[in-house]
Symmetry: C2
Subunit: 348 residues, 2 copies
């Protein structure tokens, strides 16, 4: 289980890198300003701790891709060299960008809870939450700046460019998601541009930045990028499946179903395009928790579950193929495969 071992090495280093960055926002009279950052990242306030921090998947992906491309050609057992630390500024930067987008997302979606705790806007109001997100956005690039120390200015500039292009795609995906609100004419074609931006672009930046920092060849770097991108799409398709047919959504609390939230997920867009009984019910108005089990059955009968599962499988295959083509080496390479499987093989 190299992943578990490497996570034990990476996670404290990621938290330390995040903390040293976020501490730059502190200062006299800035205690509460700093607290908003520390609260959202799960370090301070009620119910703080690892549960509140999230799994730090993205920074781990950066560090694994860094380590795996540094070890190109080395066998599965070949131990990690300390050079993975070069990737820490990029790992922290991507986690901060992800979290800035969550702070703003929670305002945009009117979500009161995030990882079981009140969202930043619920605690401090919308104006402060917008500003807290803007602050975390700057901190991300401040973190990335330290890449000049670890890799020199040219690689640092290239990393800036990669992250900026990912954020531009992220905001394009977010624009689409918001603009779909209330639209009744969506089809499957509307799904992929949205999730490419909202989910896959940042994961592609994770693996490509790791490859850049680890000194991968240009073809390997392209493969790392495709790996992250396909992983993002496969993960999203899988997540959409669980959001309707997962235990929580279906048998646990139906109110947690994506159907009640009106989410434009892959199975729903498939069924809307079919124009059958599910589509007619969807267009009639918001779905209620009590209807969820029956509507999930209806969706399945119309082929939405099989279609989504097939897409998830296909994208998973694409991600794993790309990973092989990237020539990940050493125990970091094995751990990277393990992480991909862990993210994708969740049972629906």
């Amino acid at each position: 289980m190299p992943l578990q071992q490497l996570s034990r090495v990476f996670l404290p280093a990621i938290e330390a890198e995040l903390e040293r960055t976020v501490d730059l926002a502190d200062g006299p009279g800035m205690e509460e300003f700093h607290l908003m950052q520390a609260y959202h990242l799960g370090w301070r306030g009620e119910d703080s701790g690892p549960e509140a921090s999230g799994k730090r998947i993205r920074p781990q992906l950066v560090l694994l891709a860094t380590g795996a491309s540094q070890a190109v050609g080395a066998g599965n057992e070949s131990p990690l060299s300390d050079d993975w630390r070069k990737g820490l500024p990029a790992a922290a930067a991507i986690e901060l960008i992800h979290n800035f987008s969550l702070i703003h997302d929670d305002i945009q979606d009117n979500s009161p809870l995030r990882r079981g705790r009140p969202t930043v806007w619920k605690k401090w109001g919308i104006p402060q939450a917008i500003n807290a997100g803007d602050t975390m956005y700057a901190l991300a690039f401040i973190a990335l700046h330290r890449l000049e120390e670890t890799c020199g200015p040219s690689i640092a500039m290239e990393a800036y460019q990669l992250l900026l292009q990912a954020i531009l795609k992220l905001t394009q995906g977010q624009y689409l998601d918001i603009s779909y609100e209330g639209r009744q004419d969506l089809t499957l074609d509307d799904y992929w541009p949205m999730v490419s931006g909202k989910t896959a672009a940042l994961l592609a930046a994770c693996t490509e930045m790791g490859a850049l920092i680890g000194g991968a060849s240009q073809p390997d770097r392209t493969a790392y990028r495709l790996f992250g991108f396909s992983l993002g799409l496969a993960f999203q398709a899988q997540d959409d499946l669980l959001g309707i047919w997962g235990d929580e959504a279906l048998t646990g609390k139906s109110a947690d179903s994506d159907l009640v939230e009106g989410k434009k997920s892959l199975p729903v867009l498939f069924a809307l395009e079919q124009g059958g009984a599910f589509a007619r019910r969807w267009r009639h108005g918001p779905l209620m928790a009590a209807e969820v089990p029956e509507l999930a059955r209806q969706l399945e009968a119309e082929g939405a579950r099989a279609y989504t599962q097939e897409k998830a499988n296909q994208l998973t295959g694409q991600a794993l193929d790309a990973l092989e083509q990237a020539h990940p080496g050493g125990e970091a390479g094995s751990a990277l495969r393990e992480l991909a499987l862990l993210l994708l093989k969740r049972n629906a």
Copy 2:
């Protein structure tokens, strides 16, 4: 009048640099996403045009500081060399950061109008407006990236760092401003940290970035930074004066007075610290337009106008001294002095 001549050269180049950057947000299906950027910048939609774009003071400051530090030692008449173009990526970046902050500010302040037109959130709703600001934020750094072409990666990295530190201070100032809402115990000490962040930090970044790009010596660069910073504070003090005793605020439409908006401006904080009749009225609740002329007289009688004017004069002196110490050269140097005087010598 070198300023007017140079503005005629700079302004079209600034608009072109902004447009080529903002066009990167366009693409199939992204027409409206792009329109939000173009609308806010004054290029598209109702009442578009120079009035809607604002004066582009900040990018002009960057270019003037670039030209003036390139011409160090040259006489006032010495014409501008074409090297000022090196500063265009930084000029565009700062204008985009300024405008991203305005888009978010308008949401935070619940402002329906900006430069006489509906604000982005009024036209597209709060979720899209948050996202439009986030997009412009990324575009700013994408613009700055081209500094690698014009000045090489080391200067580009330094410019990133300068801009990031300015944004961090901007968000700290914004945090203070929002946190003052509803507070009755504010004093003069609460004023300077807020305006240092909200106004002066970005102007300091303008002049320091120009100096960096123009190749100023370290002492000159420090002086350019202090010039921009003091200019920002002086401008704000002057603006606060006009917000109460300017023609519009006092005799024109009293509803436009800072007093009606409840703005924590320098004269108001002075009077609150005095604890006289004005402070008692202020603490009683929102001020009405009808009371404005009398309250402005009361404020003046308590010494707030004289105090603010004195501070503005003192900071203006500090700004002009710093500018001399920066050794600005050539016609760009003369124009920089002219711009500073233009910004500061507005009659109250």
